[in-house]
């Protein structure tokens, strides 16, 4: 099927050190005293706890439900009791904690009820059921990045080729090698399921030529599948990079910013294929993985380890030598130092390497870049690492992005060959995370702006509504007053408006009541005083009505004049205020109506 192999630019050939751990078969690691299962597979794929402290769980029981778009489920790796749900250091370069479920095994290792899924019976019509099954079985990429498989399978694009990644190009790691030697049938069965789900016509298994036993085993197993082919690729780091492997096997060069899916190629790790087989055919969710324990240890070997096993428990199996000074999770090229030894094994942990000064000496001090171009010669992503380095170093992130910083796969080839010992990848990682942080901040600022503008709009609207309400009330009061006037003027005309009449009656009643209750302190006064009061009342009368307020009062006494003027002012300003408010309200109403029209 394959005429010729293609190549990719650059690459390096570090010493592989694979023989140390590949000799012995995979063994099952003993049950640890406590399992710590993180409710997070990678930075974005998270789960929420669905168990309670003290609850007894069975092996394979779901303890974390998928949360969010990339969310993927977590399961109890063995039967036991949930003793704690708390934060614990994550196997992540940050060394920051994440929510974990602590399980104390009861030693029985009793399975929950297993529910295999016949994907063929679901058919194309119920694709979502298949995707949900993948998600709820906790299947994520086992190559290291732990990207949820249901997202990859669920992509709308049609894949014609399924690439199975068995290259395992990083030095020291042999977990995929041993897995292919021992469980080739399971892997190919899983690959078959994946190809059916994707609608892929052919399966290409890429294996580096330094694993002859794995190649033989996989070829034998692949004989039963007519559309599967095992392709031997030259050993060259990073041949196992997704884009690099696709290029070698199919000749398709995936451009900047695109994914293999867009060209009809989907890539899965061999470990993922095995997990898919277990989930669909046996109903077993992803509970364990093969981990290589190697480096500066007495007994390097591959172990089948339950997810959540603290690496300190594993180290006892390998017997690290005395001069071990750090532990690397993942390979020496792309891995990171374990933040502490209590971190659990997660679905992306393929290797734990004990490091010593003899094996991995600290790099000598960084020297200035001499612009030799060695990094550009080895870059498998066809980038110009020295340019990226200068821009990342000077924090000129815009320029770094122009030079396609995000196409960098952080393989470490450039730093490996750099004669000046510059930790180039560290600079790229720094620049990438700064750019992401800025994007997050920018999005947050945009959202805040939108909310602020909406709030302002809402406040305006509320003000307008309030003004309109007040105006309506004022109009009503005016009507009432008018009605009162009517009632006083023509009390004999009650039937033209019963409401008005009622109001008038009520007002009259109230007046009468007030009069009967209020004591009249002018009743028992000498006639001259009463006459004076009557005179004053007479003068005051025009002021109490609105029309009267405007008329100048003839020769009032000084005190009374002041009072009257104040009264008039009050009345005047009040009236002016009311009219202004009404006008404002009408204006705003009109404006709002216009805006609404505009919106429409």
């Amino acid at each position: 099927m394959i005429g010729k192999l293609f190549g990719f630019n650059g690459g390096v050939k570090p010493r592989t050190h694979k023989d140390d751990s590949a000799r012995e078969p995979i063994a099952r690691a003993p049950m640890p005293a406590r399992l710590i299962v993180p409710l997070r597979h990678n930075t974005r794929a998270i789960a929420r706890p669905i168990v309670e402290i003290g609850q007894h769980v069975l092996k394979g029981e779901r303890i974390g439900g998928a949360e969010g778009v990339l969310g993927t489920a977590c399961h109890a790796p063995t039967s036991g009791t949930v003793v704690e749900i708390a934060e614990h250091t994550m196997p992540h370069p940050s060394g920051l904690p994440t929510l974990c479920v602590y399980i104390e095994p009861d030693g029985e290792d009793r399975w929950t009820e297993l529910k295999p899924l016949d994907y063929a019976s679901c058919g194309c019509g119920d694709r979502q059921a298949v995707l949900d099954f993948l998600r709820d079985s906790g299947i994520v990429g086992m190559g290291g990045a732990a990207f949820p498989s249901h997202i990859k399978v669920g992509t709308k694009r049609v894949a014609h080729t399924l690439v199975l990644n068995g290259a395992e190009c990083e030095p020291w790691i042999t977990s995929d090698d041993r897995l292919m030697r021992e469980r080739a049938d399971s892997i190919l069965r899983g690959a078959h399921i994946l190809s059916e789900l994707l609608g892929a016509q052919r399966i290409l298994v890429g294996i580096e030529d330094n694993k002859p036993e794995a190649i033989a085993a996989m070829r034998e197993a692949a004989a039963s599948l007519p559309n599967a082919e095992v392709v031997v690729v030259p050993t060259l780091y990073p041949a196992g990079g997704e884009k690099q492997l696709i290029r070698v096997l199919t000749g398709i060069e995936i451009p900047h910013g695109k994914l293999g899916t867009e060209f009809g190629v989907q890539c899965f790790n061999v470990g993922t294929a095995e997990a898919v087989h277990r989930a669909f055919d046996l109903g077993e969710p992803l509970l364990s993985r093969v981990v290589t324990l190697t480096g500066n240890v007495e007994r390097p070997r591959n172990w089948e380890v339950l997810i959540g096993t603290p690496i300190e428990d594993l180290l006892e199996l390998a017997g690290p030598r005395d001069d071990t000074d750090r532990y690397i999770l993942g390979g020496p090229m792309m891995g990171f130092a374990a933040p502490d030894l209590s971190v659990p094994v997660v679905k992306g942990t393929n290797c734990v390497i004990a490091g010593s000064q003899a094996l991995f000496p600290y790099p000598p001090p960084e020297q200035p870049c001499i612009r030799c171009g060695a990094c550009a010669e080895v870059c498998p992503a066809d980038l110009q690492p020295f340019e990226l380095y200068w821009y990342a170093r000077s924090k000129n992130f815009g320029k770094a992005q122009e030079y396609h910083l995000f196409d960098c796969i952080e393989c470490g080839c450039c730093a490996y060959v750099c004669p000046s010992n510059i930790p180039l990848v560290d600079y790229y990682r720094f620049a990438k995370s700064e750019i992401w942080a800025r994007e997050r901040e920018h999005d947050a600022a945009d959202a805040a702006r939108e909310r602020f503008e909406f709030r302002n709009y809402r406040q305006e609207r509320e003000k307008a509504e309030k003004a309109a309400r007040l105006a309506a009330k004022a109009a009503e009061t005016k009507a009432k007053l008018a009605a009162k006037g009517d009632a006083e003027a023509e009390p004999a005309k009650p039937d033209d408006d019963p409401k008005k009449a009622l109001i008038a009656a009520a007002l009259a009643r109230a007046k009468a009541q007030k009069e009967s209750v209020a004591p009249k302190n002018t009743d028992e006064l000498p006639p001259e005083v009463q006459a004076e009061i009557a005179e004053i009342d007479e003068r005051r009368k025009p002021l109490t009505s609105e029309e009267g307020a405007r008329q100048p009062v003839a020769e009032p006494s000084a005190e009374e004049a002041g009072e009257a003027a104040a009264h008039a002012r009050d009345e005047d300003t009040k009236k002016a205020l009311i009219t202004a408010a009404i006008e404002r309200a009408q204006e705003q109403k009109a404006e709002q109506a216009e805006r609404e029209r505009d919106d429409k």
């Binding site: 930075t43 720094f430 959202a447 602020f452």
Partner: protein, 183 residues
Amino acid sequence: MLTALLVMAGLALVIGAALGWASIRFKVDADPLVDQIDAILPQTQCGQCGYPGCRPYAKAIADGEADINQCPPGGEEGIRHLADLLGREFKPLDETHGIEKPKSVAVIDEDLCIGCTLCIQACPVDAIVGAAKQMHTVVDPLCTGCELCVAPCPVDCIYMEPLPETVENWKWRYPVFKLEQTS
């Protein structure tokens, strides 16, 4: 001679008409510079710059009324961006407007909250939920950390808490080489 004059006059008329039409048809309503400045500002809407929100401050900068170093949440980096955009010299943050602080969110001590709604009214981005005489709470992801809700609280139950570093927002550090002491 006359033809030339007529041609020139005709051309002037046509071009003038075209320009006049274009000035109406392609009129820019808002100052685009204000938008550009607004895009750089952090949108906390805190008012520390002395203007009621980020946009008014952006407008003031564009009009030359305000200086570029009055935004504490934007910090030094924001000033650098503004200086780049406007072609001005960088100047350090004017500390009369406040100092640059790590990004924080407001937290309401729910045991103390009396439900007065004053903080809800103060929040410029509607990030506080609650009702009269009901306990209030801050919706963390929406909070811009402007601190405007802290002062109005009559029982002082609102405090600012710096955002913790999580696996999601963790950033790789700038590579530095550790110097080892030899003697």
